[in-house]
Amino acid sequence: MDAKEIIARRVALEVKDGMLVNLGIGLPSMVANFLPDDVDVFFQAENGVIGLGARPPEGMEDADLTDAGGAFVTAVPGAASIDSAMSFGLIRGGHLDMTVLGGLQVDERGYLANWMVPGKMVPGMGGAMDLVSGAKRVVVAMVHTQKGKPKIVPECTLPLTALRRISLIVTEMAVIQPTEEGLVLRETGPGVTVEQVQEATSAKLIVRDAIQEMKLA
């Protein structure tokens, strides 16, 4: 199992029955593949659908039905199509139970940077700032290090996405919960030790109890 699948399978356990959930493009979108059968949720795509479904069969795509990454999707029974004002009203207004996004850096305050690398990559924030400011729970799903360099750092050096402490960080090496006191290590990845997690993390981690290995959906 590769790092991304471990992360997606662990994040899937955070999704509870009845939630409205927004999954970001890329790794976060993989979470939908690993939901337990008894968990019935609506996925929102911020471009305008509540009730995002699987990819349509080849050649049967509807040009007017895509996800926020522009990929063709379907809509599940009970879905609703909405305009951008309604879509972001749901996000900012506290109606979205959970968002799962990628991250470039998360720091000891629990702040996320995920929308630009000055001088290198300026894609724009899209909906990320609204999602991180407004969703009830913000889960960051990302690989633990970037080319060996820690992404969980004392203080973000990249531009912040929001001044909001995110709810949970899930990587292939660890589950970490940002709190008032700092970053609390909750679980380690399959076959990973606490020492290995700390070594790959430049932020200070609070290790309180016996750490469990993460369960996967």
């Binding site: 509807d62 972001f88 300026v122 894609p123 912040l160």
Partner: protein, 217 residues
């Protein structure tokens, strides 16, 4: 009763340097025939307000390639490397705005509000140069209204009165933009007799629409 306008004639209505609100999300729900006519005509210097600049060869991406955009007010340019290159070279002045803030600024411009108070962007680079307003103990950024000279929108169908209905994720910014420009040009896939769109299905009342593009040949 509206008259159907030829697409070339609609493009001729738009002077050099106009501010254009253009519907669409990665090209889905964009007025593609109108964009092609603008490219064919070659008059530019536009300020484009839109969710994104799509991809090279698609939707607003064609206006980027043709060099018709002087300024872009958008939330995302990540899928269009040409926009990024032209931003870096200074050919296009790009204002990046959080997606939910962008749609509400346009809505404010369209519904007679003096601005929007949102927590999105607080403590980030989006805050720079803006007023922070405290309401009932909570801090918000004051974001100003946006209006256009023209709104160029796409719809699933129109009736002869200009009432519009939209399809799935092709709603996005279109219904909001129809409120916020001096002149609204709508490009429906089909035009139907009055009554064929039930009142409950009308998302943009025809009173807002100035020009309907004639049917696709």
């Amino acid at each position: 009763m509206k008259t159907a306008t030829k697409v070339e004639a609609a493009a001729e209505l738009i002077p050099e340097g106009s501010t254009l609100l253009i519907g669409g999300f990665m090209g889905v729900g964009s007025p593609h025939r109108l964009i092609d006519a603008l490219v064919a005509r070659g008059v530019g210097g536009f300020t484009v307000v839109a969710n994104d600049t799509a991809m090279p060869g698609t939707g607003i991406g064609k206006l980027v390639t043709a060099g018709l955009i002087a300024r872009a007010i958008v939330s995302h340019i990540g899928l269009n490397p040409e926009t990024q290159a032209k931003m870096i070279s200074g050919e296009i002045d790009v204002d990046l705005v959080p997606q939910g803030t962008l749609v509400e600024r346009i809505r404010a411009g369209g519904v007679g509000l003096g601005g929007v108070l949102t927590a999105t962007g607080l403590g980030t680079s989006v805050e720079e140069g803006k007023r922070v307003v405290e309401v009932e103990g909570k801090r918000f950024l004051l974001e100003t209204p946006i209006r256009g000279d023209f709104a160029l929108i796409a719809a699933k169908s129109a009736d002869y009165k200009g009432n519009l209905e939209y399809s799935l994720t092709a709603h996005n910014f279109n219904p909001v933009m129809a409120l916020a420009a001096d002149t609204v040009i709508a490009e429906p896939h089909t035009i139907l007799p009055v009554g064929a769109i039930p009142p409950d299905a009308v998302k943009t009342p025809g009173v807002l629409v100035d020009h309907l593009l004639e049917r696709e040949h």
